[in-house]
Symmetry: C2
Subunit: 139 residues, 2 copies
DNA sequence: CTTGACCTTCAAGCGAACTTTAACCTTATC
DNA sequence: GATAAGGTTAAAGTTCGCTTGAAGGTCAAG
């Protein structure tokens, strides 16, 4: 399989695949007689793994460290540790997102709760005051 | 208030504050006779808002579009729409994170479930096969 | 009157993950 | 044999959100 086909089937750009190779995530593909890269079908699974890992929040460097050069020699303990760590990372992110969401929603509620007799400017002041409260850095 | 104090109290670097000004998030501060920037106390609230918005996932450009140049003239409808959109974005992210987490956890389970009589290499193959399944791009 | 902590500007650098560009080669089709 | 659609490389450019550096001006203390 040439790089264009691999790109199409994986959904990645060919340039991205070459980039991964240059970064050492993919071992250099074998070449056809004309110099074109020639990929085995397994390359597609490997790209899937990389894309999954990325989507899970691993950086390319982390992925590189975890992907075995030789497909059969996984560093089992390291991999499990990394996976566990990443789940913990995700949980931190989830908590932060939940907080941000709550924050935005309370802000929307605050804005909506403008008393009928209050003008926009006063409402803005009220909202701003509530936002600015309690965020000063301690000395 | 000079920039150093504002930096300390907001928790931002002075360079970041200048950067925000250069990007148009902050209107140019007035200057003391020596040319130093001189900030009113409200600058602190404004920085808080910016920091909150960033933490909620707004880019600096989005924040700039939403922050009123004149502190009293909020584009109410636009703001509410942006907030609603951002909550939707956060929910998408939450779903993706949950999926990534589930994915990683099932991967860990799969790895752990290695039959006692299977060697590492065969287990690796089993795990890889399960990972690569069903991800091909439709033509 | 020198030291050091601040402040100023403008320009360049960083890191992540790619993409784009330029210059060139290969293969298939009209 | 011209053209278009692919492939090759190396190097430079992009975006985001800043930081760092160079080359200064300002100000209080010793």
């Amino acid at each position: 399989m040439k790089i264009g086909e691999l790109a199409k089937r994986s959904g990645l750009a060919a340039s991205a695949i070459r980039f991964y190779e240059s970064k050492g995530l993919l071992k250099a593909a074998s070449r056809q007689s004309n110099g074109y890269r020639d990929y085995p079908p397994e390359a597609l699974s490997l790209l899937s793994i990389i894309m999954d890992a990325q989507q899970a929040g691993f950086t390319l460097d982390e992925i590189k460290r975890l992907l075995p050069t030789d497909a059969a020699v996984w560093r089992h303990a390291e991999l499990m540790t990394a996976l566990r760590d990443k789940v913990a990372d995700i949980e931190v992110l989830e908590a932060r997102l939940a907080q941000s969401k709550a924050h935005i929603q309370s802000l929307m509620a605050l804005i909506d709760a403008k008393p009928d007799d209050m003008d926009c400017q006063a409402n803005a002041a009220r909202v701003l005051a509530s936002l600015g409260a309690g965020r000063e850095q301690p000395d």
